[in-house]
């Protein structure tokens, strides 16, 4: 029996997928090489341990918000499609979307999200929050991907500012230097180079080359070239 066939039989045995004919083949193989069964049993035990530790499902954090954000993105893409192609139908009918917006399920979900945001400390944290004047900055949704961070968000009337507080972030060690610069202008990244930030004298302050997955990566400084 060649090695490839042995490997297939081991895999089938571990998964309880041997047919009757394959079972006979397996029995014969094991009779001539008992170590095959030993290794297969050990692998099967390891897989049982793995299954017991890794859940097959895991609700994403802020699950209702997860759904509502997907809906929001779809709405935005559909309205962008309509703007770009006003004469053509959207990917899905606008009637369908309007019906969805009016549906009890959507209204219930929106209420659930609003409640979730309220309970989790997002959005206006105060049930008696005043109706804001239209000249104030408004924060519609707030989300932190880090479940260790507790976010609160509210308009502070006394300070006349919107305040988002992030609590639960690790303190920055004292010996770490946090420095900034006074940046006066910038040029965005293009296919020819990264984003560049300049001070008031036109000198390069920062060079930012976001990674393909969107992480901000600042390049080591180049001076006096």
């Amino acid at each position: 029996m060649n090695q490839e066939r042995k490997e297939q039989l081991v895999t089938l045995w571990i998964d309880d997928q041997l047919s009757d004919a394959e079972r006979a083949e397996w029995d014969a193989a094991v009779a001539s090489d008992p170590s095959m069964l030993e290794e297969a049993k050990a692998a099967k035990n390891t897989m049982s341990m793995l299954k017991s530790e890794i859940p097959a499902t895991q609700e994403p954090p802020y699950a209702d918000f997860f759904n509502s954000q997907i809906q929001k993105r779809i709405r935005e893409e559909n309205s962008a499609n309509l703007q770009n192609n006003p004469g053509t139908a959207a990917t899905f009918s606008l009637d369908g979307i309007l019906n969805w917006l009016r549906s009890p399920l959507t209204l219930a979900s929106a209420a659930a999200v609003a409640i979730a945001l309220f309970v989790n400390g997002f959005g206006p944290g105060d049930a008696d929050a005043p109706v804001l004047a239209s000249n104030h900055t408004v924060v519609e949704t707030v989300f932190t991907p880090d479940s260790a961070i507790n976010v609160t968000s509210k308009f502070d009337e006394y300070a006349d500012a919107h305040v988002i507080l992030l609590d639960g972030i690790d303190a920055i060690p004292e010996d770490v230097e946090i420095r900034g610069k006074s940046v006066a202008s910038w040029a965005p990244a293009t296919k020819f180079g990264p984003a560049r930030f300049f001070d008031a004298d036109g000198k390069l302050a920062y060079v930012l080359h976001p990674t393909p997955t969107g992480l901000p990566h600042f390049l080591p400084f180049v001076r006096d070239i």
Partner: protein, 155 residues
């Protein structure tokens, strides 16, 4: 070869954006971003004090009321906002703001999707409409005897 690559890279980095590169939808708006250090102790000698009015507003926030000084570690006055590109407000490479605009509303507010980064970690994402002279304060981590606060204002 490496020296040539360095030279070419440096020339590209030091050259301002050409007219060709500046094409794209620019919005008539200026966003000011500042990294503020709020402290009860000694202020950072390397930093300048925050504008008086801004300091007064910061001091009125309940969570910041114990801080006795507010200094500016870095600022970025971003007067070119693109609707086609990702925009960055970078007062510091430790904390910076990435945003995408969804345009200007009928009242002159700038609709944004914002992400505040601490190095390579997203601290918070938010959908917001910035209105002129109405700041957004984002209270960040503690540092030394105080706290870092990111301020965003539409000018």
């Amino acid at each position: 070869m490496r020296a040539l690559l360095t030279l070419l890279t440096s020339l590209l980095l030091l050259t301002p954006l050409s007219a060709e590169e500046r094409k794209g939808s620019r919005l008539d708006a200026t966003v000011w971003g500042g990294l503020v250090y709020a402290t009860t102790g000694e202020s950072d000698k390397n930093a300048s004090p925050v504008d008086k009015d801004l300091a007064a507003q910061l001091g009125k926030v309940k969570a910041f009321e114990d801080f006795t000084s507010f200094t500016l570690l870095g600022e970025h006055n971003q007067d070119i906002i693109f609707s086609d590109f990702t925009n960055w407000v970078v007062p510091s490479n430790n904390f910076n703001l990435q945003f995408e605009t969804k345009g200007i509303d009928e009242k002159g507010g700038l609709n944004l999707m914002l992400k505040l980064w601490q190095e390579e970690r997203v601290l918070v994402k938010t959908d917001a409409t910035l209105r002129q002279k109405s700041p957004l304060f984002i209270g960040g981590p503690k540092w030394r005897e105080g706290r870092l606060i990111f301020v965003v204002v539409l000018k």
